[in-house]
């Protein structure tokens, strides 16, 4: 299997393959323990923390590309349109929404959507901006 492409080499419009995801109640607890969030609302409502969903999506995207040393996560957006139920089957779609090169730096913006199985529209959309030194290689 070919090595994943470098993020900085991916052109605007590049579509990542759809990826199946899931956040179980145990995953959510592991995440909440790591971020030290003791709020019970997630378990009480049976909903995943939105940033846990975004982090899961980012993790899945990182499996589909290579980040060179020096890559910096410079911006993050997310918008919830519905809650993400714990344990639900999810599909993540992502793409390179923007790519620009300036002053020796490549800035790539990755858009992603997370959709609950059976839903017509994404439950969470996000945009991650990453800055990479031009010419950097792993």
């Amino acid at each position: 299997m070919a090595a994943p492409a470098l993020l900085s080499d991916l052109p605007k419009g590049h579509e990542f393959p759809a990826t199946g995801l899931q956040i179980t109640a145990e995953d959510a607890l592991t995440y909440l323990d790591a971020v030290q969030d003791a709020n019970r609302v997630y378990q009480d409502r049976g909903l995943a923390p939105p940033l846990a969903v975004a982090a899961l999506a980012l993790g899945a995207l990182l499996d589909l590309m290579e980040l060179p040393p020096g890559a910096l996560h410079t911006g993050q957006q997310f918008e919830s349109a519905a809650g993400v139920p714990l344990g639900a089957s999810l599909t993540m779609n992502g793409r390179i929404a923007q790519r620009s090169e300036r002053a020796g730096l490549i800035v790539s913006a990755i858009e992603f959507e997370v959709t609950v199985a059976g839903a017509d529209a994404p439950a969470l959309t996000g945009k991650t901006t990453v800055m990479v030194p031009a010419g950097a290689a792993p």
């Binding site: 997630y42 939105p50 940033l51 040393p69 996560h73 957006q77």
Partner: protein, 133 residues
Amino acid sequence: MSAPAVAPVVKTISQEQIDRYADASGDHNPIHVDEAFARTTPFEGTIAHGMLVLASISEMMAAAFGEAWLTRGRLRVRFRAPARPDDTITATAEALSSSSTSPKKSLLRYAVECRNQRDELLIGGTAEVPELG
């Protein structure tokens, strides 16, 4: 309706917590977890994941708005500087004007930020959530 006040969240970031976040998120970038490697970088030591620090802002909004934040929250931020192990970070929200998206629905808007114990801005941006009730 004026936007309700949102209580700040204060916490100290440890390397052990960064390591746990790396395991939870699957992001084991050595800049976060390998002190020897991180010392060779311009950061001169490990730094926390931006998403770990950002979680304090989401935690603050979830505490204030509960399910509305989980189902309809919006967050837009820039990472300005990294948090380091043993930093104490404070997430705050300051109400901005509400914006109406329709005659019946309006969003509460907040300027949100996260600063360290030296008052350096780590994260800045906006958060929006539907009006309660």
